[in-house]
């Protein structure tokens, strides 16, 4: 720009221009040109983007293969960028990421679960508002799960790639064997219980449950809560403005307890891991119902492969409180990609994420992986599986809601899971469980008053004095001979 300006300011005679330039200007011009050349060369120099996720471990199928193909396509489109995909263990993922964040090293791009996992780590993530064109944002759904305050208009910290959620699958063959008419799903609470009871008579379980980690109960709560709680009430429960002991919440927990009390879960469900063991119980045909996912795994594609699509049904939560929102399905917890604050390549990192989220790759995500993409420019009619089409219809009709427990702080969520375990194990009742959760919310929201530093110093000095006196007293108590033996003086 500077060179252009200089030339235009003077007649197009190079010699004349050179003579009119002061030595300072000349030097500046040379430096600018040098920087421009250096910048151009630097831009062409190969750079490596490090991407962390939990899907890359298996690149032979599913999301891992999909990402591998994306990496290859991105590198072809951007010859100066190399993608280094690092697979991390899903179980310890956030602990490893936290260690990386503390040392400000590791990935440029990081995969995170939508919801609390994104917002709880926002101090390590780059706000994406400035990097993101408006039309790009408009093409995706799920921003409420990756933006400040669970508000789609808040500052986004991650780009949603997939849509994940919970729906109920049922084994039509098993239910028919138990004498249940499966032309329509057993949707009401009474029908659901009757179906579970009929299946139990066959020696099978009503519902395949994995409650070892406590996560299944939160899936159940997320799935059922729309019947009794509005979105505003859920937010009030998170913030502590509404009490967990409210009868509306109790209604959800009572149904959960009822299922356990009536013995509709498989034996040993308390020590069964939700992932993957509970899914295997359903896949083996040992239970009639499974609260599964809509994308990636433990979903319609998995079950169609095992039973045949025509032998599996999908439904929303069994309805104990009919209402306009009773058939909503909870969404959240799908994966999103974010840019770390310590990356030296923020633009390249975002370009990669935008490439992953593009309509073309979203289409492959849908057809090859069998998952619902966040990109809404993909034709959902591409789904051929009837259950997938049903889910797509629900999503298309806006019959979704944010996963309730996904908004809870980790400590409260942990309390919910543990209290549900206690409830299902018979250690507590609904009132006790809800009171404990309410207490956790109170503690989470309480304002901490710092102790005056003077008091801390005084207590510290006092403690040191006590220790010193105790050590001296112990030395005095130790017999002389023993001391001598210990010091080698004897």
């Amino acid at each position: 720009m500077y060179v252009t300006y200089t030339v235009r300011s003077h007649p197009p005679d190079t010699e004349c221009v050179m003579t009119q330039l002061t030595s300072h200007r000349f030097a500046s011009t040379v430096v600018t040109i040098a920087f421009a050349i250096a910048a151009t060369l630097a831009a062409q120099e190969p750079v490596t983007l490090t991407v962390w996720d939990w899907h890359a471990a298996d690149t032979t199928k599913g999301p891992g293969l999909w990402l591998k193909n994306i990496d290859r396509a991105f590198e072809e489109a951007h010859p100066n960028i190399k993608i280094k995909h690092v697979a991390q263990s899903h179980n310890e993922y956030y602990q490893i990421f936290k260690a990386a964040a503390a040392s400000r090293s590791g990935p440029d791009v990081v995969m995170l679960h939508q919801g609390t996992r994104v917002l709880g780590n926002k101090h390590s993530l780059l706000p994406l508002s400035d990097l993101m064109p408006a039309e790009f944002k408009a093409s995706l759904v799920g921003w409420d799960l990756t933006s400040e305050g669970f508000d789609a208009n808040g500052t986004p910290y991650a780009v949603p790639i997939a849509v994940q959620g919970n729906v109920w699958y049922y084994n039509k063959t098993l239910l028919e064997e138990a004498g249940i008419d499966v032309s329509e799903p057993p949707q009401s609470w009474g029908e659901f219980l009757a179906a579970c009871e009929a299946v139990k008579k066959l020696g099978k379980a009503g519902v395949a449950v994995g409650e070892k980690e406590g996560g299944w109960a939160t899936w159940y709560i997320n799935s059922s809560c729309f019947q009794v709680l509005s979105d505003a009430e859920m937010n009030q429960l998170v913030s502590g403005e509404m009490a967990w002991t409210d009868p509306k919440v109790a209604a959800v927990f009572e149904r959960l307890s009822e299922l356990a009390t009536k013995g509709h879960f498989q034996e040993g469900f308390m020590s069964t891991a939700l992932w993957p063991e509970a899914r295997y119980v359903f896949l083996r045909g040992e239970a009639a119902f499974f609260l599964g996912l809509i994308s990636d795994v433990a979903h319609w594609k998995d079950f169609a492969a095992q039973f045949g699509a025509e032998n599996v049904g999908v439904m929303t939560a069994p309805v104990f409180q009919p209402g306009p929102d009773a058939d909503r399905i909870p969404v959240g917890g799908a994966f999103a990609y974010a840019v770390t604050t310590w990356t030296r390549l923020p633009k390249e990192a975002f370009d990669y994420i935008a490439f992953v989220a593009s309509a073309e790759n979203a289409k492959a995500f849908l057809t090859d992986v069998g998952s619902f993409p966040a990109n809404q420019q993909v034709d959902r009619a591409l789904f051929t599986d009837p259950n997938a089409r049903q889910i797509a219809d629900w999503i298309g009709a806006g019959r979704t809601g944010t996963q309730f427990t996904g908004k809870l702080p980790e400590t409260v969520n942990d309390t919910v899971m543990r209290e549900c375990q206690r409830l299902l194990g018979g250690q507590t009742d609904v009132a006790g469980a809800l009171a404990a959760i309410q207490q956790a919310v109170v503690v989470e929201n309480e304002i901490i008053e710092p102790t005056p530093p003077g008091m801390v110093i005084a207590v510290g000095v006092g403690a040191l004095l006590v220790i010193a006196i105790a050590v001296l007293a112990m030395k005095r108590l130790t017999p002389t001979g023993e001391r001598a033996n210990r010091t080698g003086e004897g």
């Binding site: 964040a101 034996e267 020590s271 702080p409 206690r422 008053e449 710092p450 530093p453 008091m455 017999p479």
Partner: protein, 290 residues
């Protein structure tokens, strides 16, 4: 004098590497944890000073007291751990038939990672697992239960798993101790008619007092600080809080809830308690010697 100084300098030089490691990896983190226990900190952004607020919260934290009570329950079983190892070591020392095989077999669990042991027992003890199948086969089907999923049996089961994982170490420690006891001591005791329980109580235990003290102190420290992996793999502290231990709570607060400051406060409290318990234990043992 010159030789003394030179020897002292050499001594310092020999000690220096180990001292440096202890300072770097023990003292500095401990002091850092103590300072961070006075803050609200998520582990990434700068900490905010809160003074003793974390400790005040700890006093009212039911989960912490539950976890501590479980730790203390485990400590109460340590005499059993010692006794099992001691008796087995004695049987091997006395060259009971098959002692060579058992010496290797008993040590095998000790070379396995707690993760492997935890996974192994999780599979064995599930509702439809081999343990319950065997119980049913021998007519004890009524005892079959979801060992790790039942709040009443989870902690005792966890203790048995830990005992299985650690007793081999104890056997080796006691075998080393027994090897140092003059053969004549045991022979004389036998000639005097000491057998069974009396032999163990009046001859073996006094002969191995220092070894038992060493192993007991180790087990107490270990029971407070090193059981994390067993809990993580087998129960996640559940069902509910029935197998929650303090070390696992530290992990949950630090890495799941991002409450690093509070986790440091729990860690500091744990350190002080273990330190106190060890001091009392050592004093009691020293007192007996006096």
């Amino acid at each position: 004098m010159v030789v003394g100084r030179s020897a002292a300098r050499a001594g310092y030089l020999f000690v220096a590497p180990a001292l440096l490691l202890v300072i770097t990896f023990r003292a500095v983190p401990a002091i850092s944890a103590l300072l961070h226990s006075l803050t609200r900190w998520n582990g990434v952004t700068p900490p905010t000073y809160v003074g003793f607020a974390n400790f005040a919260r700890l006093l009212g934290d039911g989960e912490f007291w539950t976890a501590l009570s479980h730790n203390l329950a485990i400590v109460c079983t340590i005499p059993l751990w010692i006794l099992v190892s001691l008796v087995l070591a004695l049987l091997i020392h006395q060259e009971t038939p098959g002692w060579r095989f058992f010496r290797a077999a008993y040590f095998l669990p000790s070379v396995l990672s707690p993760v492997v042991i935890g996974l192994l027992f999780s599979a064995l003890l599930r509702q439809n697992g081999p343990v319950n199948s065997v119980l049913s086969a021998i007519g004890l089907g009524g005892l079959a239960t979801d060992w790790l999923g039942n709040a009443n049996t989870a902690l005792p089961t966890l203790i048995v798993i830990i005992l299985w994982g650690i007793f081999g170490h104890g056997v080796i420690v006691f075998l080393a101790g027994l090897a140092a006891v003059p053969k004549e001591t045991f022979e004389a005791a036998r000639l005097d008619g000491a057998t069974g329980w009396r032999f163990l109580w009046h001859i073996v235990i006094p002969s191995l007092r220092h070894v038992i003290e060493f192993w007991g102190v180790n087990l107490v420290v270990w029971s407070f600080t090193s059981l994390f992996a067993f809990v993580y793999v087998t129960t996640n502290g559940g069902p509910g809080y029935s197998t929650m231990l303090v070390s696992y709570q530290v992990y949950l607060q630090a890495f799941e809830a991002n409450r690093m400051g509070y986790a440091c406060a729990i860690g500091t409290a744990l350190f002080m308690m273990v330190f106190g318990v060890i001091l009392i234990q050592v004093r009691l043992m020293a007192g007996k010697e006096d």
